[in-house]
């Protein structure tokens, strides 16, 4: 014992008799600075080691700027609908038609052993006809391309099609119609309704006659000149007259007015042979579109004729419009040549399909812009047998890390996929990253400037084409190792672009559905470059997660 230590013992002999050494007086409280709550959950170390502004446990709490608050709740879509026992896929089917972007929220489930599906129409779930195709009851891979909604279940690729409607709907006004009196009308029942852009073209002709004044009319103003003389301009002055053509909706509201007037001193009438008016309106099926004529001024006579192409041989039909795309009502096989894929993803106007009838190394791609063509020029397939990190290295998923680079995730490696420009072998596969892959195919999620995924090592990575995989899941890795003991096929993910958040849903303790969400604030991560690690969590029971752009 050192001299100093011995001295201390001698000065305080009572300490030997007590369990605790009590000081003669309590020290003043330690003044603590205010700790801002800026960081997220940390489970990767002892609570004594994690930053004071972070937390070792958090549920249903979110970070906002410098603070924390209670998280958001959820609203049910379709209050009364509980029908699907298990939803194997839910996705927003988005497609572009005629320069407009459309969306349909669609969910897939099993009816008996077949494919059943429902579409949210803004008010309720509308169910389609159960397909003749069987559905393999596993979490489905879904994709939208070319106006089609595709699903892959390991035994097939099936499609729900938005077939283009009749793009030239022609409907005629009644044959021989001739509106010659004030308030006269001609009508068309709009069936089928639903113009692609709510745009309708109405065509008619107009003739207006006015009376030509006989003799010398002119203007005479008496007493207007000095000496109260009369101002007189001799000459002919015709009458003014015309019509106003009204186009009305089913409720009699005027959608459009067009005036046709003439004033004449020499011509007795004027004719407009083909007037095409474009109106924008939402007609329901069976609504009436009415053409009405209203007299204006003093026409001696007039006539308006709504066009009838079929019988009256007018140049075009009285009503022309492009019909909506018409959805088919059931799922059908995409193509007899398409592989029995487990995972599909659109890439460069092609469908990339992973696996075929359980062959874990098979990859195929459709022809450019033709998702039904799997044998023609530009399509192809390959067996990716050259493996290094695993003897099989099953193909799991894919995600675009740049506009022309697809990251192909295998169980223990990641390959790079790109378009070659050579139609003979249109898609090229290259080794990229070895020793890192994923066992959770649906954890792969397109996020801002890259992809996020759950690695096979239970680490969550952010993977951009520029920087490669960056681990962001340190705080929750240990928790995932301990709790993610179920089948990783049930792992799913979502991307909230408004809040910049990656949602990772995992089945805990062997469950066959998602019991916990881990939520990562990627937007903040990218802004701060890891100065804070923002994970939070919430308990929820769900089968699948999707990101949609609109719910109404």
């Amino acid at each position: 014992m050192s001299k100093r230590g011995y001295g201390a013992f001698r000065k305080n002999p009572r300490s030997m008799r007590n369990t605790w050494v009590t000081q003669s007086r309590a020290e003043p409280p330690e003044e603590q600075a205010v700790l801002n709550l800026t960081a997220g959950i940390r489970l990767d170390g002892s609570p004594k080691e994690i930053p004071l502004q972070a937390t070792p446990f958090m549920s249903n709490m979110r970070f906002e700027d410098t603070g924390i608050r209670k998280d958001f709740g959820v609203s049910v879509i379709g209050l009364q609908d509980y029908s699907p026992a298990r939803v194997f896929g839910i996705m927003e089917h988005r497609f572009v038609d005629n320069d407009k972007l459309y969306s349909r929220l669609t969910r897939i489930f099993r009816r008996s052993t077949k494919i059943g599906f429902q579409v949210w129409d803004g008010t309720e779930w509308v169910e389609g006809t159960t397909s003749a195709l069987n559905l393999n009851p596993i979490p489905l891979s879904l994709a939208a391309i070319e106006g089609k909604f595709l699903l892959a279940d390991g035994t097939q690729i099936a499609q729900w099609d938005e077939t283009p409607g009749d793009t030239s709907q022609d409907q005629d006004f009644p044959t021989g119609n001739n509106l010659t009196t004030d308030g006269a009308t001609a009508a068309i029942v709009v069936t089928p309704a639903g113009s692609r852009q709510d745009e309708y073209i109405v065509t008619y002709s107009v003739n207006v006659q006015v009376t030509l004044l006989a003799g010398s009319g002119g203007i005479t103003i008496e007493g207007d000149l000095p000496g109260f003389g009369t101002f007189q301009v001799p000459g002919k002055v015709g009458t003014f007259g015309g019509v106003e053509v009204h186009i009305k909706d089913n409720d009699g509201n005027i959608l459009h007015k067009e005036g046709y007037n003439t004033i004449t001193s020499s011509f007795a009438n004027e004719t407009w042979t083909q007037e095409s008016i474009t109106i924008h309106h939402k007609f329901e099926d069976g609504d009436t579109l009415t053409l009405e004529v209203v007299e204006v001024g003093n026409p001696s006579a007039f006539s308006v004729h709504g066009f009838n192409n079929l019988v009256d041989a007018d140049a075009v039909a009285g009503l022309q419009y492009d019909e909506y795309p018409t959805p088919s009502d059931t799922f059908v096989a995409l193509s007899g040549d398409a592989p029995a894929a487990r995972y599909i993803i659109p890439f460069r106007d092609r469908v990339i399909a992973l696996q075929d009838e359980g062959d874990p190394q098979f990859v195929a791609w459709s022809a450019d812009g033709i998702s039904t063509d799997w044998v023609g020029a530009g399509s192809g397939n390959a067996l990716l047998l050259d493996v290094r990190s695993d003897s099989i290295d099953e193909l799991m998923a894919a995600g675009a890390v740049a506009s022309n680079v697809l990251a192909l995730f295998r169980r223990r490696s990641i390959m790079r996929v790109r378009e070659t420009g050579n139609i003979a072998f249109a898609v090229a596969f290259e080794h990229w990253i070895e020793g890192l892959g994923t066992d959770a195919r649906f954890s792969v999620q397109q996020v801002k400037d890259g992809v996020m995924f759950l690695g096979h090592d239970f680490m969550v990575y952010y993977f951009s084409g520029a920087t490669g995989p960056t681990p962001v899941g340190e705080p929750i890795q240990q928790a995932l190792i301990e709790s993610l003991t179920g089948n990783q096929e049930y792992v799913d993910s979502g991307w909230d672009s408004v809040f910049g958040e990656y949602w990772l849903g995992i089945p805990e303790d062997g469950a066959n559905y998602i019991t916990r969400e881990w939520i990562f604030d990627l937007g903040n991560f990218l802004d701060s470059q890891r100065s804070v690690i923002r994970w939070r969590t919430r308990d929820i029971e769900c089968h699948r997660i999707a990101t949609v752009s609109r719910i109404e």
């Binding site: 603590q32 709550l37 937390t55 924390i68 958001f72 959820v74 509980y82 509308v126 408004v498 949602w503």
Partner: protein
């Protein structure tokens, strides 16, 4: 065959740019739900929320500490409650429970103090929101008092 799938929903913004983004959940109940910033419940029930602090007494493991008070700094849009619980055993138990009433703060920062007075070797507190009011806690200040030196009697008596 369905009567109709109705019309596709036309997005209101310019083509290619979605107006909004939602996380949609296909729940095990058979319902589909979306995460909604404006609602306060899950499955029609107000859900609990919890934030737990890390260990506060980390200066010298030889000393016991007392967590005397925790002062919270917050904003809230309306008056509401917040629960502050204290633990002296690293979160194994939460014997000290204080419910604080938070006053409407408008735009200025308010503060409120919970008197916990717990002594132990792993001091933590947790926040819970029993009601909905949008409370935003931006920071906290714990008041720690150093107590006696902990001595292992076995080490002393050999």
């Amino acid at each position: 065959m369905p009567e109709s799938f109705a019309d596709p929903i036309l997005l209101p913004e310019s083509a290619g740019v979605p107006a909004e983004s939602f996380i949609v959940l296909a729940q095990t109940s058979g319902q589909a739900s979306f995460v909604d910033p404006s609602v306060r419940w899950i499955d029609y029930e107000v859900f609990t929320a919890e934030w737990q602090s890390p260990t506060l007494n980390r200066t010298d493991p030889r000393f016991n500490m007392t967590l005397s008070t925790v002062t919270l700094f917050y904003y809230t849009e309306e008056e509401g409650d917040i629960e502050v619980d204290g633990s002296s055993d690293g979160g194994d138990s939460w014997p000290t429970n204080v419910t604080l009433t938070l006053e409407k703060s408008d735009s200025h920062l308010r503060q409120v103090t919970a008197f916990l007075h717990i002594t132990g070797d792993d001091l933590r507190f947790r926040l819970r929101f029993p009601s909905w009011p949008i409370v935003k806690v931006v920071g906290y200040a714990p008041r720690l008092i150093k107590r006696g030196l902990r001595v292992n009697p076995e080490a002393l008596h050999g």
